[in-house]
């Protein structure tokens, strides 16, 4: 005999540490297991109650599941009651045990006692699986039309779960659900309205059907609003706010996009909005829902003004709960009526600084929706002020929002640059690479601002050194426009004068380079910038040379490689240095966008073929793009009058293919280029720098020839690419999917470029046995997240002794590609020597990422 429930709870409460609690629970569980094994029928009820308590504390209780089923089958109500409770709490729809209870539930659904029927409905509504739903739907449908309101309300909510599990049952529920809306009982009404809402949400026909019921819904609401005091459902002087909220929500659904329905409900909406008492929470809940409905349906202007005024009152309320819902609603209203929300802008911006994180988050969401070309300056200023004091957990989100707003609405380039510098100074580590790239493109396209920009970045960097994105951009600017620090080019009106020497700039770059904590990518940038400055600085160039030279032995392969390559350029190729180190040509923005898309596909391809490290290639597109541009600079400069997008066309020329007609080779080629040049890609980690340097030098030699012809330049590239290009596409290892009794099923994979979720599997069947397999049929099945189609096989006889094979193409689409691997069940039947063979199996050794 175990302890009483009470004693167990006392023992648990007396525990001072988690370990003590675990010990008590372990002891109890052991006793319970014994009790279950000994089939102690009279204490079963108490034991299941104990299990629920143990479950609530977070301990496993699966061993007691069968006990619940036994209790449910018991005749007495208290036992049944606790059995059903255990069923709902301890089990879930994923457990196979659940199927065993279907019959008991079916019996109980047909029971004469309303409470037992109610129990069965409740359990079914909480945990039923699709199979149970199908089996028991006829019973539940019958109960929907019962005359007993206690049963009806539960049947309605049970139906919600059934149609969620088996949507094709909707048509059977539609009729009875409509009947529920004419009931008098509030429980039936609220359940009926919930059911109708669910139906209307999931099915267009049902929505149309309930649209016709708009007058009924209006009547329900009217009865609630104009009825006097109704004690049964009164909450603080308001009749059944829960039902009112539900009806308003359904009205919103049916009124959306339908003027006729919206007209029918406009009177009652106005009545609710004006007459509901707003002193209590229950009243505010209704007003809140009512405002959402007014703004959600095709209301007339006057009604909208009423709603906006209510929101204004909410926003000014001292209660934080009310302010929260006001902000929440305004987010939805912005799309409908921006002007109305703009009026409350000052209050909303105040809320961004609220001490309550829930309110702040909502307000930020709203501010984000509010910003446009006209108010971007003021609102961004507020957001930047707040960025200074924001919690660390809040900063990434806020930074991303500001960046995207600046990008979208910046009135001038100057303002864009200024604001981004401020953002980067405050929260540079949260600024994503994408925004850095956008900024660099902008700067390179604004020659009149380059001087100002480099000076501003120099100043900002002096104040803030630990924000990565600021460092990267500053370093890049110094490399490109370093001389403008000294010659005051393009000085803007009112700009503070800045006195810097060449040595100062080199000091800055050296400090970045020497900071071993900083990202190798950033340090690589610093090296490139130093190299570029050698052609622009006269006094500091020897010092730079020595500095670059000192990194020849760097342990960071990327830095070592760069230092050696750059050293070579400085030593041996002084004649081409000026052209080589010219300023980067302005980046064509549209082109960059296209490239980004190409990069993304490359990254996925890389993931599949190479080590995961190669992905870093795609992660630093700025570095890669900049390098590529640097390199292409050579050929561009020598061709007469290069157009702005020459870089792109030069690349295409080099690769010998126009970019549009055959898009595939271009990314592949570009990828090779990037592999060769970009930092931290996998191949470089294994290739000694000297090897890489050779082809690079060869490349550089090409354009330096007196009369460079694009076709001539193409050759080394072509050679370079010719061998490697085919490996750039994704390939997957073949697998043996099935092998038994001489039969072998072999899978080869290929992926069409257009759809990464799709995989074409070529199945090859061979037979190493002595007799041929005849009537060979191969079948396959896949889980729900995949789809599969089998093409006819090349034959139905697999010859013996591996004398031949049969092939078949299988097309699979994996909708959860990247999250779940392919899995497949096989069923193979054939005849060998006249006897039938049936084989089944599961294939789970598919390569990842299919």
């Amino acid at each position: 005999m175990g302890t009483r429930l009470r004693d167990m709870i006392r023992a648990v409460r007396a525990c001072k540490t988690a370990a003590e609690e675990r010990a008590v629970i372990a002891k109890e569980c052991a006793a319970l297991r014994n009790a279950f094994k000994d089939e102690e029928g009279d204490t079963r009820h108490r034991n299941v109650a104990k299990l629920m308590f143990i479950h609530m504390l977070g301990y496993p209780t699966h061993f007691g599941q069968m006990e619940c089923l036994k209790l449910i089958a018991a005749p007495s109500f208290p036992e049944k009651r606790i059995g059903y409770l255990g069923l709902m709490i301890l089990l879930d729809e994923r457990q196979e045990v659940l199927m065993l209870v279907t019959n008991s539930i079916k019996n109980d659904l047909n029971h004469a006692n309303q409470f037992i029927v109610g129990l069965a409905l409740c359990a079914l509504g909480n945990i039923c699986s699709a199979e149970m739903a199908r089996d028991l739907a006829p019973e539940v449908e019958k109960l929907l039309s019962s005359s007993n309101s206690y049963i009806k309300k539960k049947a309605a909510l049970c139906s919600i779960r059934i149609i969620r599990k088996v949507p094709e049952l909707i048509e059977y529920v539609l009729g009875p659900a409509t009947g529920l809306l004419n009931d008098k009982h509030h429980g039936v009404l609220i359940a009926g309205v919930s059911l109708a809402t669910e139906l209307a949400q999931t099915n267009a026909e049902a929505l149309e059907h309930f649209r016709k019921q708009t007058p009924t819904l209006v009547r329900i609401l009217k009865n609630l609003v104009i009825s006097g005091y109704a004690p049964e459902y009164d909450v603080g002087g308001i009749t059944d706010p829960f039902l009112q909220v539900r009806v308003l929500r359904l009205l919103r659904l049916v009124g959306k996009g339908d003027t006729e329905a919206s007209d029918i409900m406009s009177d009652i909406l106005a009545q609710v909005a004006t007459n509901t008492e707003s002193a209590k929470n229950s009243g505010n809940a209704i007003l809140y829902e009512c405002v959402m409905t007014i703004m959600g349906v095709e209301s007339i202007g006057g009604l909208r003004v009423l709603a906006i005024n209510i929101l204004g009152r909410f926003l000014a309320n001292r209660d934080n709960n009310i302010r929260y819902v006001a902000l929440n609603t305004l987010v939805n209203v912005v799309a409908v009526d921006t002007q109305a929300v703009q009026r409350h802008r000052a209050t909303i911006v105040e809320c961004v600084k609220d001490s309550d994180v829930s309110i702040r988050r909502r307000a930020l969401e709203l501010v984000y929706a509010l910003v446009n070309e006209n108010n971007i300056k003021t609102l961004t200023k507020e957001l930047l002020d707040y960025l200074k004091v924001a919690d660390p957990e809040f900063k990434p989100d806020l930074t991303a929002k500001i960046c995207s707003l600046v990008h979208k609405y910046a009135p001038t380039k100057l303002w864009h640059i200024d604001t981004m510098i401020r953002v980067m100074s405050e929260a540079g580590s949260f600024v994503k690479d994408d925004w850095v790239r956008v900024l660099i493109v902008l700067i390179s396209n604004a020659p009149e601002l380059q001087g100002y920009t480099v000076r501003s970045f120099y100043r900002a960097f002096q104040d803030t050194k630990d924000q990565e994105s600021l460092t990267v951009t500053a370093v890049w600017c110094l490399g490109e426009y370093g001389e403008m620090l000294m010659n005051h080019a393009n000085e803007l009106e009112g700009e503070e004068p800045l006195t810097v020497t060449e040595q100062d700039v080199v000091d800055v770059l050296e400090s970045v380079l020497k900071d071993s904590r900083s990202n190798p990518v950033v340090r690589g940038f610093a090296l490139t910038s130093l190299l570029k400055l050698t052609s622009r600085y006269s006094t500091a160039s020897e010092r730079i040379k020595a500095l670059i030279g000192s990194y020849r032995g760097s342990l960071v392969v990327e830095l070592q490689q760069r230092a050696i390559e750059y050293g070579k350029i400085l030593d041996k190729h002084a004649n081409i240095k000026p052209q080589l180190l010219e300023r980067m040509p302005a980046v064509d923005e549209a082109h960059l966008k296209r490239r980004t898309a190409a990069d993304e596909t490359l990254v996925t391809a890389d993931k599949e073929t190479k080590s995961p490290k190669a992905v870093a290639n795609g992660n630093k597109p700025v570095a890669a793009a900049a390098n590529l541009m640097d390199l292409l600079d050579l050929s561009v400069d020598d061709t007469p009058a290069p157009p702005p997008a020459a870089a792109a066309s030069a690349l295409a020329d080099l690769l010998g293919s126009p970019p549009r007609s055959t898009p595939a080779p271009q990314p592949a080629g570009a990828n090779m280029l990037l592999d060769l040049l970009a930092p931290s890609t996998a191949p470089q980690a294994t290739t000694p720098p000297a090897q890489v340097q050779d082809p690079l030098a060869a490349l550089m030699g090409g354009p330096a020839a007196p009369a460079p012809q694009p076709p001539a330049a193409m050759d080394p590239f072509g050679d370079l690419l010719g061998g490697a290009a085919p490996t750039a596409g994704p390939t997957f290892p073949s697998i043996v999917a099935f092998e038994k009794d001489g039969l072998r099923v072999h899978f080869d994979f290929s992926k069409p470029a257009a759809n990464s979720q799709q995989t074409t599997i070529k199945a090859t069947y061979t037979n190493s046995g002595p007799s041929p397999f005849t009537d060979f049929v191969f079948q396959a099945a896949v889980p729900k997240f995949m789809t599969l189609s089998l093409e006819p096989a090349s034959g139905s006889v697999v010859p013996a002794g591996q004398a031949g094979s049969v092939t078949q193409t299988i097309n699979v689409t994996n909708s959860l590609q990247g999250q779940k691997n392919l899995v497949m069940r096989l069923r193979i039947s054939y005849k060998v020597n006249g006897s039938e063979v049936l084989e089944q199996g599961q294939v789970s050794n598919f390569p990842a990422q299919l």
């Binding site: 977070g58 709902m88 809940a285």
Partner: protein, 143 residues
Amino acid sequence: MTIRFLLLVNKQGQTRLAQYYEYMSLEERRALEGEIVRKCLARSDQQCSFVEHRNYKVIYRRYASLFFLVGVDGDENELGILEFIHCVVETMDRYFGNVCELDIMFHLEKAHFMLDEMVMNGCIVETNKANVLQPIQLMDKAG
């Protein structure tokens, strides 16, 4: 727009009642309860009663040493749920007579019976206290 879970937690953060309306493994539950309770208990009385956590919105209300937490999805009426919490507590009050933590601990099944009458599959069924308590009182009489 459904209720995803209901929790009753004491001031120390111990769960005293838990009802989930969607499947979640035991480990997930423990983790979720820990995170949410920590977030909610750290908030002051002046702050609003809504906390966003993962993809849930948690609406909570404090009664002396007990916290009532309800997890809902994004488009639920927050104020309505707040009112519903109060309705649940009033119902328990009527049954237990000034309900306290111990009443719920020692009569866990009764508390669940009440919830089962009020919420089904995440939707509100009944808010009339007499209707909710009727089956339970009948059972008490018979037992």
